[in-house]
Symmetry: D2
Subunit: 277 residues, 4 copies
């Protein structure tokens, strides 16, 4: 039997669960896992189900569209590996963690390539037999640099782009091409310490806890929808480099957690926030 | 409009959500919140819904019973304050925290009484105008002592009994009378350090994290279904009294969290575990 | 034997520990606990020791001054309860937690009074026999209001003022009178969500973790030296009122933790940060 | 200038800090970092200092021995990379994490070899150019197997042996050879769930938090001195395999943290516990 993920979000109204359950029942699907949430402030209904059975997804989609409110977003897909591209700069702890997870067969994704503005990460990508593309930003404009990357991405056709400590800001022009499909790890507990060198900012401010935030990238730096966050405690003995060192474990774990959620189609983005089942 | 909580657990089979959603729809109820879970290992279905509308609950129950598998547990109740009795011994941090929360009108319960085997807690109960019953265990057998408490409880008729650091073991005879209705806070991260003075045990073992566990009480000491747990870090500078001191905040927060879950009918007990929505 | 706390901070140079240890030895003091830290970036030395013995503190201070670099801050005091004043507005969870801790004899302080701009907290202060002063801000200027409070504080002579959810901003004029002696709990993970209604801000931003921060108050709102922070996880099911509800436990635990550190003379303030032993 | 780590533990008595500070001063050493702790229950003094300067360590040791109580343990060593051997079985997440950290030059150690009772980990060790030794336990006794490993270790001469999910119990005979030098990661929050398949045990018990524990190995399974622990929350949706999956991040982070503490000579073992500066 095949396995499917069904995601629905639409204006809330009475009987939605009944209607979807009715369709699921008629198509003889088993519900393996089912989650719902209603944002009562905005009267918005969210539902995600893992289903097993054998269906014509197009036909099933048609059935659902006919019974749900107009404007409903309906997504149905058989469970399968997504294709992802990893982007990095020089630091290898987050990238390496993802490569290892992929190597252990625990990442529900095919890694199409590692793309970087430097070549420091090439030996690591090579070790794991992942194609590495060095696209230097030297002597070209930001736009030219991004266009080169976009051209490459067009040939690779990834479902998601994962910024594994890619340390250049992406222009909104770039992001527009991959709306809701670019995932980033920011090395602070957002919205604290937006921008450059958050560990130094955290050190200067004298915080007692530092963290990391995985989020989708949108037009504004570090302001996209948050997927996952975690923290660790620090104290006066940590200078900013020690915070940075300690923070590496949090960064890689948070991005890894967020990436799993993305790859399992567990996230809805709504009003710059995420609903996660 | 009235608000209800519906809880169902039964053997899993196809179409359960459809059937319940159908009944909810026909009774013109709004679904405010809905959660489901299937324990696939045991083919067991759990569902909890918060509903609003106006129904004859007995009639609605009959409708559900007719459409659900035989042996299904169905619970429907209008949202209302539960009646609880608090039991303590000498330590007042957990008891005081509950009394304060009740005083602030943030506890969804009426506190019928504080019962204790000592009288140290009387002044605190008095401050908050809660009836205090001192039932000493001096010069009587355990059975006689428990019978006195049971006699009092029979007149008070609590929905739940909350052991707020009640430091005597309750016999299985006692517990049988209030199956699934006695809540305890154990001052360790169970199942580590079952039994007496867990902080001393933790200190002797040299752990780096200590915790607290709220659980339902069953026949075996500290082995009932776990509701909530939390931890804090410690280090070599903590002797067991300092662990105890630091642990007090965890104890009161964990019991408070668990008590809210109980009072909101959010817990299913199953195979000595809890399913919590 | 008496117990003392010794705190020293000064320019770092070779032999400081030797010199202090020499003095301690000559005065026949026992070192119960000793901590040092050097901020290497600023070449600053911090030391705190708990000592037991019998000394003339003035004489001991003179000995230390003679052997330490000029400009050294030296503090020596026998361990004793501090006098504190609690200030609140309407919310009682933080205030109540401190009153309960004091009632249990676990707070190393005398509570001189509760001061509030409203009278909602009076019944709670009364329960615990703590003098309550209602100083309304109605129909008077901020300055007049603060002057009334200052006048009261002058008669009470507290060592520390604890803002237990006091919801008015204190002017820098007010704070100047109690530099490093006003402790506040802010209901967010600072520096995220400075200012009004941080839970609403956190909800709008869609964070997955919320927190609380205890800090000393300085001229700028929520920008004083941080003493303690803690967090809890939230998800899309939390609206801002549920965040607020869940956050109460963190707020009271964080302030309680910070207050203990203050009362035990464990904190140095330096460059708007804290060194805590 | 050279950097040294000095560690002292001995019976506590007056003037110890003075005497050590005196020696440090006379040898014209700078104290970079200094920590002390007195276990008052057992009147035991612990001290660790990071020093810079130029000394004859043997001579300095002699000076210290002459001034400290008889029976004092004194350790002085220049800061240098330790030599370690990693042992694993089939799971690669912990091993891979250490190899990556070593590759990034963030591990203060030389990895001499990976030793395993299976050959699954060979390709991973190969990627990072670490010698791999497959010592199968097939068709030989436990003693014969351990003797083969011991023979190999004798040629490698590691300072520490790191069990990176090595899934065979080491006999006390084996451990005796490397007392206090074998580090293990146990995939539970010890002392909960000692022994085989702790995730299954945790699942059966219905805990709401799971964890991992890094500890030194002694004669009794999972009962050695604890170095580091951490936890994550789980709920009823986690079956034991999902707990195992989620636990992998904790396991690798906890072992990595503990290994850093070991490599920086920051740990004292005492009464089956650790004092860590």
């Amino acid at each position: 039997m095949s396995q499917y993920v069904l995601k629905i979000d639409c204006q809330d109204e009475k009987g939605l669960i009944y209607r979807v359950a009715d369709a699921v029942f008629k198509y003889k699907l088993n519900i393996i896992k089912n989650d719902e949430f209603v944002d009562r402030e905005h009267s918005k209904f969210f539902m995600r189900a893992e289903l097993s059975g054998e269906i014509n997804t197009k036909e099933f989609l048609g059935t659902l569209e006919a019974m749900l409110p107009s404007g409903a977003n309906i997504y149905i897909a058989s469970k399968a590996k997504k294709n992802i591209v990893l982007m990095g700069t020089k630091e290898s702890h987050v990238l390496g963690d993802i490569l290892l997870k992929h190597y252990r067969n625990e990442l529900n994704a095919n890694i199409l390539a590692v793309v970087s503005n430097y070549d420091e990460l090439k030996p690591l990508a090579d070790k794991f037999d992942i194609p590495f593309f060095h696209i230097s930003h030297d002597d070209i404009t930001r736009e030219e640099h991004e266009n080169k990357i976009l051209a490459l991405l067009e040939t690779l056709k990834p479902d998601f782009i994962v910024l594994a400590k890619y340390m250049r800001i992406l222009s909104s022009g770039f992001v527009k091409n991959y709306q809701g499909r670019v995932l980033n790890i920011h090395h602070s507990f957002l919205p604290a310490f937006i921008g450059a060198n958050p560990y130094k900012q955290a050190y200067e401010r004298g915080v007692k806890i530092i963290g990391a935030t995985a989020h989708f990238v949108n037009d504004n730096l570090d302001e996209g929808p948050i997927i996952a966050q975690d923290v660790i405690t620090v104290n006066h003995e940590f200078d900013w480099k020690e915070m940075q060192r300690a923070g590496r474990n949090v960064e890689k774990v948070v991005l890894s957690t967020a990436l799993d959620l993305v790859l399992e189609d567990r996230i809805f983005v709504y009003k710059n926030k995420t609903v996660i089942f």
